[in-house]
């Protein structure tokens, strides 16, 4: 263990420079985030991830945000265990009908001000599961969405760009 720890100390950091916030995400947010809410949050957002029926591909990439290469916590973004501690809901999946009520309840349990970020092609409009008897199709049909991050699944860099845009937007207008 000592060798592994020592090497981690002596070798340079693996963490990569932050990507620029996504322009289209900034544009989408400009119309949605209200000024009063922005005043109450700094460069620190607590994120509650909700899988609303994804194939688990998006979860794998959201997990990757915490590894040494992306190190999401350096931006003041962190994942929390309860919606009651969250500012942001990160929602994946085509919202299965079996998950709709749980998603609504999670949204209602999240204190204001709050933002919802829909992650992945399914979360935008149901994706390839659109039209199934078992899917609502798109997160915005169940709860209001502030930002969409595309991709199947979006790469950790795409996720980071979107979340940084949200963070910039929230703090820029304080």
């Amino acid at each position: 263990m000592r060798k592994t720890l020592l090497e981690s100390l002596t070798h340079g950091s693996l963490t990569e420079p932050a990507p620029a916030p996504d322009d289209s995400a900034l544009a989408e947010l400009a119309t949605k985030v209200d000024r009063a809410a922005q005043a109450r949050l700094g460069r620190s957002l607590a994120i509650r991830e909700v899988d609303a029926g994804s194939c688990n591909g998006c979860e794998l990439e959201i997990h990757a945000l915490s590894n040494a290469f992306y190190d999401i916590e350096r931006f003041g973004l962190r994942f929390v265990a309860s919606p009651r501690h969250a500012d942001v809901l990160l929602v994946t999946g085509p919202v299965t009908k079996n998950m709709r009520q749980a998603l609504e309840r999670t949204y209602n349990a999240t204190p204001d001000p709050k933002w919802v970020v829909a992650v992945g092609g399914c979360a935008i409009d149901g994706g390839i599961f659109r039209g199934s008897y078992a899917c609502v199709g798109g997160v915005s049909e169940t709860v209001p969405v502030d930002l969409h991050i595309k991709g199947c699944p979006p790469s950790p860099t795409d996720l980071l760009k979107g979340l940084l845009a949200l963070l910039e937007h929230v703090s820029a207008k304080r």
Binding site: E59, L60, T96
Partner: protein
Amino acid sequence: MGIFDSIPHVNAVLSHRPWPRAVVTEAGWQAAIDRLVEGGLTLLGFWGEPAAVHMALLDGGLAEIAVVTYECTAGTFPSVASRHPPALRLERTIHDLFGLVPTAAGDLRPDLRPWLDHHAWGKSYPLSGRNASRDVQPYQFLPAEGEALHQVAVGPVHAGIIEPGHFRFTANGEHVVRLEQWLGYTHKGVESLMQGASLDAAAKLANRTSGDSAVAYAFAFARAVEAALQIEAPRQATLLRALMAELERLANHLGDIGAICNDASFALMHAQTGILRERCLRAANVAFGHRLMMDVIVPGGVTRDIAPDGVSALRALLAELRKVFPRLIELYDNTASLQDRTVTTGIVKAEYARQFGAGGYVGRASGRDFDARRALAYMPYDALSFEVPVLQAGDVNARVWIRIREVEQSVALIEQILDRLGPGGLQTALPPRIGRGPCEGMALTEAFRGDVLVWLRLDGELRVERCHLRDASWFQWPLLETAIDGNIIADFPLCNKSFNCSYSGADL
């Protein structure tokens, strides 16, 4: 036809490949269940159609597979689950989706509680083709009675970044007396979307049945189509398929080893394996243009060759793994406080692993020596050499060690494949659409968590008429209920992570 020697059957379905399928009467169906109950055969799959049910059976000793079909002329079929428990969730699913009713003689009462149907779809029996409605009743968990027992309800939204499902614990103080799972939250109706889908659309759905096993599903789907159409992918394509399958296994096992240790509060391992996992995904992205390698495997072959710099990216990955991974094994092996959590925790009895036909590390950590790559020797594994690790202890520790050994095997396999890659065709043309009758195919591939089964029937236009995808998790989830018995609630995350079953794959 070895398996059919002991099962009376009416007629064999000639268009079913590569293994035989035959229609049986009630006597034949019961004879098949007899063989399952006595342990001569293992249940590989159990699925429905609007007016029939099918069971896929494995004779492990002979590595022989067969499918028996019972035609439900009265909308009923003799219950398998009331005699053979591994069939239970699949039987409840058949009832939920097709409205077919399992029946049993004497004192046996089939469990007719819904499984996937949470009464939220706006219709009952969605694949039955009928408009029947089902009584809406609150879900009945199994009772547990005794002094000082209390219940803990967890989910569907969990504390971590994981898929949704409900766990109902009954505990006596810290100790779990009973765990009952209730899943189905991620049910997306994959089988209904498959009906009438083109091969392209269906392959995309197969990739997204369980995202962590995208390659394994695409591989199984492609092979099932190829079996049905009696074509073979070119050699180069099969090598690339196996290359992706082993990369997927590596990435998942590395992620799991770290995540299990993290659930025992050993974050150092999580950080280190997280780096290795990320390196795998980046190498996959360089080689195949997608971190999870989705949509590269298609019926007939693969859509692209490995990128020119892919080989060197993969060789660099292997060199890094060879350097770092042995040190991490040593770290796991020499940290007594970590072993204190994993050794003798969450034991799966060998008897259950055999009865349920548990695949992957869950089965192999409990003495079940089965790996589809070796048992069925599908291309290109027939020409590659590898070992299948098997342990007997059945605890969290054994499931970690199986993964460690499989990481080593996958590294060696990737090396062998890279040495064999050369120029070569990537796709075999599919036969013309005209003048064909329906045909059926079936395939198994070994995903990182166990064998994936795909069964399908294509119509004359090369569209999917019906497709069933069976994840390894179907036969592993129930064993998690047994593994947690007598353990403390605080060890549940550890046990659960050591299984890492798919929700999406089993909810369909």
